[in-house]
Symmetry: C2
Subunit: 196 residues, 2 copies
């Protein structure tokens, strides 16, 4: 396995682009090489096989889509109430829409996971760890509501992100006076998270 | 265009299978012919192009995934309360898990819609019509909550369906004592829909 970490990251990012643009079926080592602008055969020096590439795309997305530590610290200085939960969910929505390609690649990975048991196992583990981290974060911060609240909010945000990234027109103006996505994020939080 | 409606339906169902199994990139007229067990060239007599086939898959899924009118009538005989909303959402979940292939094909269609403006326009229209129908149904039946409630519940169910069909292990046991998906459906409704 070749070891240049910058080149590896560039290849994984190229794989993410290919995945979002062409779907899992279009994700070949050759397409990754072409997207990254490197000689044919390079990707095969960095990944043992396609499953390995898919796993590394998953791992890299956790970094690319993670909150900015400074932004997060700034947000967490506020009182631990529902308004703060709204701000945290807006930050999540902002990261997802800014890295639209990355999140669409994760949706492609989900569908590919229905076909590949190995990918399903590793991807399940990383998504589950994220959900449990969210529950733990919410509890430790003393935000309103319990694990149940976080689970329901997580599912509603997942639905909102899927809808907004794939068919944004569905939600546009469906609740008059509620902007998409920010107004809708606020409605989700107000409906799901208890006031205190 | 060839006119045999049964053969058309069989070809659309074959296209749905191919879409769920191989993704949008695998959906060719030739793959549809092979899946349906008909001579090569048959699909091209029934669909003007790939966009036409994708639109017809969308239209057919609305029928395949629709509630059974008798089951629905039976459910609607109950008092118009939160328990009834739970029963309706469980019925939706049941339809989706029974026709897993059909729903996975719709998720593939969503991702393909990010690449094809024509498909995005027609698919947006059909999903929006369904959401508005749901709001109207809820209102006319006198179920608790308003359009806002239906919108939030719709997004949470969309998230739950996506998670349960693609990475079911993420939710398994995440809330102790809450079965997946039925127990989680109940939690969503209890959290989102007002008691009266």
């Amino acid at each position: 396995m070749a070891g240049n970490p910058e080149r590896r990251a560039a290849l994984v990012d190229a794989g993410t682009e290919v995945l979002a643009r062409s779907g899992a079926r279009g994700l070949t080592f050759r397409a990754v090489d072409a997207e990254a602008g490197v000689p044919v055969g390079t990707a095969s020096n960095y990944f043992t096989d396609r499953d390995d590439l898919l796993r590394q795309i998953d791992a890299r997305m956790h970094t690319r889509l993670a909150p900015d530590p400074e932004v997060l610290a700034g947000l967490m200085a506020a009182p631990k109430d529902r308004t703060l939960v709204t701000a945290l969910m807006r930050d999540l929505m902002g990261r997802v829409t800014r890295d639209r390609t990355g999140y669409l690649a994760l949706l492609e990975l989900r569908l590919e996971a229905t076909r590949r048991p190995g990918l399903r196992a590793s991807f399940t583990e990383s998504v589950r760890a994220e959900l449990e981290y969210g529950m733990d974060f919410h509890r430790r911060a003393g935000l309103p509501g319990g694990d149940e609240t976080v689970a329901v909010l997580y599912l509603a945000m997942l639905g909102l992100i899927l809808e907004h990234l794939t068919l944004p027109g569905v939600l546009e103006g469906v609740l008059p006076g509620t902007g998409v996505p920010d107004g809708l994020v606020e409605r989700l939080v107000t409906t799901i998270v208890p006031e205190r």
